[in-house]
Subunit: 438 residues, 2 copies
């Protein structure tokens, strides 16, 4: 497993400050020189390393290079010869940067292409020599201390409430995996079902107290207050999100039950019947897991229940370089074993783990559809670069969940000596979690 040492900047294609989407010069229409033979050879070689996926390359002069064995299902345009060298030098980082800059383009379904690539590289990787693994490298995530966490979160979550409003669900603006009880549920239904499913797992009862670490736009806290009459303290360090959350709670007359606290989760105080954290663990950083465990230990009443909902892995692995650098600075999705280490450290008893991997693929598909339907508005807010980068991030995430390189774990646990346990999980399923008429 990689050490969590400080990040060293990449040598190539990395002149933009870390955490910015814009990084390479935009594509231009200047005519490029003819490709060399060894450049064709390089592409063939690169594709073989990647397990020979069914991808045709179209070079800057219009020439094509067909895949090794299969009919091509996708065409990848390389729009200038320098793009090729960037791609070969650091495929994980450069693919995203080149796509965002319009120097690499895709014919065919973007999530499908990414899934094909992930599966192909994952299978090929088992047979790679070590030096090749180094080429396909990712880097250690940015640190996630209190001040760095603020920067990391600001970079992503403070992009603007209006922007996220374009493609997240309208009701509770959930920027985490939804729960599609039925395949034809809408995003709106599935996000409400997720909130319901989480509340049921926590076995909430009226009058209980809940603390939430990382609350996004505050939807879960309002849902809990509205539907379970519990008191919620929700912590977040994204100012933009909190402004929205407080405003909504006031409008809905829930501000006597819900308190949004602008502070780092590490500063949580008090003891509660439930501890919940949806989609924050990815930003916590491995080094902070013992402290998180101790925090939950002291924040949870003797018979309290904790729930962590997080993107995860089947085994420890660094985040994709481009995603960590341009989209989610500091992000590290823990492996299932690393999740469990949080519970082991606190001598907690793990009651329930559920994996909602394919639900996240479906959630992201709905988000991408909304995003694409609003892409002109996004480009007006930011620019073409940004729109392309975010399209790739969403499409690549769909692919990662479909191909099994990312998982979504919900982990429920309690203090080790708590005997007030539900007899079974039957009560989670006694009636549909999906609301009617949404």
């Amino acid at each position: 497993m990689a050490q969590n040492t400080a990040h060293k900047p990449e040598a190539q294609g990395d002149d933009a400050p870390r955490g910015h989407v814009l990084s390479l010069p935009l594509a231009n229409d200047q005519p490029d020189r003819e490709p060399h033979n060894y450049e064709r050879w390089l592409i063939t070689k690169l594709m073989r390393m990647a397990g020979s996926p069914p991808i045709r390359f179209r070079l800057w002069n219009g020439d094509t290079i067909e895949p090794d064995n299969e009919e091509p299902q996708f065409t990848l345009h390389l729009n200038d010869h320098k793009a090729l060298y960037a791609l070969v030098a650091n495929p994980n980082l450069a693919f995203g940067d080149l796509y965002a800059a319009g120097r690499l383009d895709i014919e065919g379904d973007l999530p499908d292409l990414m899934e094909t690539l992930y599966r192909s590289v994952h299978a090929a990787r088992q047979r790679w020599p070590r030096w090749l693994d180094a080429l396909w490298r990712n880097h250690n995530p940015r640190p996630t201390g209190i001040s760095e966490a603020r920067e990391n979160i600001h970079h992503h979550y403070d992009l603007g409430n209006e922007f996220y409003g374009l493609w997240l669900d309208k009701a509770e603006r959930q920027y985490t995996c939804a729960y599609y009880e039925h395949p034809d549920n809408t995003l709106e239904q599935a996000q409400l079902a997720k909130l319901e499913h989480v509340c049921r797992k926590l076995r909430l009862k009226p009058g209980m107290t809940v603390v939430e670490a990382g609350c996004g736009w505050g939807g879960l806290a309002r849902y809990m207050a509205r539907n379970f009459q519990v008191k919620v303290h929700s912590y977040n360090i994204s100012r933009e999100q909190l402004a929205y959350a407080r405003d909504e709670a006031r409008k809905q007359g829930l501000d006597h039950l819900v308190t949004y606290v602008e502070d780092d989760y590490r500063n949580i105080e008090g003891q509660y019947d439930a501890f919940v954290s949806i989609g924050m663990l990815e930003h916590v950083g491995k080094d902070n897991y013992p402290a998180l465990s101790e925090l939950i230990k002291r924040s949870l009443k003797p018979n309290g229940v904790a729930l962590l909902h997080s993107i995860g892995r089947n085994r420890p692995m660094l985040m994709n370089a481009w995603i960590e650098k341009r989209i989610f600075p500091g992000a590290y999705p823990p492996s299932i074993g690393e999740c469990m280490s949080i519970c082991e450290h606190g001598d907690f008893s793990v009651l329930d783990v559920e994996n909602l991997r394919l639900h996240y693929a479906q959630t992201l598909t709905d988000w991408l559809d909304n995003f694409n339907a609003n892409q002109d508005a996004v480009t007006d807010m930011y620019d073409e670069h940004f729109t392309r980068a975010w399209r790739l991030y969403l499409a690549g995430s769909i692919a990662a969940f479909r191909a099994g390189s990312l998982q979504l774990f919900q982990v429920v646990f309690t203090h080790g000596d708590n005997n007030q346990l539900p007899r079974s999980r039957q009560d989670l399923y006694s009636f549909p979690a999906t609301p009617e008429g949404v």
Copy 2:
């Protein structure tokens, strides 16, 4: 975490060969000398180290020593002065040996006393200096290579089918945790519900093939064949159990669907739709987890489902010395993290973890009731020593599950790239797992 090095025999009270219940001379009626003052002091000291549980000591001459703070809830008789020294020198091992030999006796409910002790020691332990932890030591488990595993399993599981028949459920003779959907379910109902619950988690369909590692008396295999029309290969190295299993399958006309194989799980061949192992992982040994993982990897079809059901821990910890030595040679219940390491090693995707801890306390309570009702028959089969040892083992296990020092994990997982996943766990709960009219 302890290293898995070879076991060194204890210095004290350990003259019997490892893995035998009988170890110390039986209590006799010879008058013992009067207790010394420093012996009283030693008991007071020992109880303070153990967190001052509400236990009164009655010494060999009738004198009593009251607990520090509370009213006594239990009385512990020490029937000779040498018993005291054995207890002080190695409490974990000697408590069981002395009780089995009748040199230590208990007034009060045995499981309640043990639970009180476990909770008290667990709480006190957090404040102990290191040298005291060494006193309350356990030892590394016996090795579990192919030939040692045979001895370990023979020691426990070949005690005789008649013996186990006295206190296990009649229908399927399940020597593992049952599943009590309702608190008033009988052992018979709860064991059948457990089998049903496991089959549902595996999503069995008629015509599928299943391989089972460690099948006990073969009840799960017959249940699967009878109720799900699947073909099962079940591996076991206990000859006594297999004779019973084959006989039952023949009687029930299921021998065209069920094959019982007398071989080590490591020799499993073929590929199956499901891999299941109920209550064997405790005997596998940590060193063999990577090999087990690789075995499951190659035995499972691309969309196959695996289920491990095992006693476990909240964090890594050695088995109680007496249990490992006298009852379950080679046993080591893995922590939840160690369970997950099996999945991580094979790049499996963990779909579902359920903890049935309190169900095992209830199962053991039913077993102990049956055992006590048949104790004269047990003593006729073996001797008083044996009966007392097994009563303590069952009572101590109830206590360990109640106090949270043992857990019961059911872990469901698949190959990392399998997308034929159930949308939710709703189907596990669509109708009761408990059969009617049992």
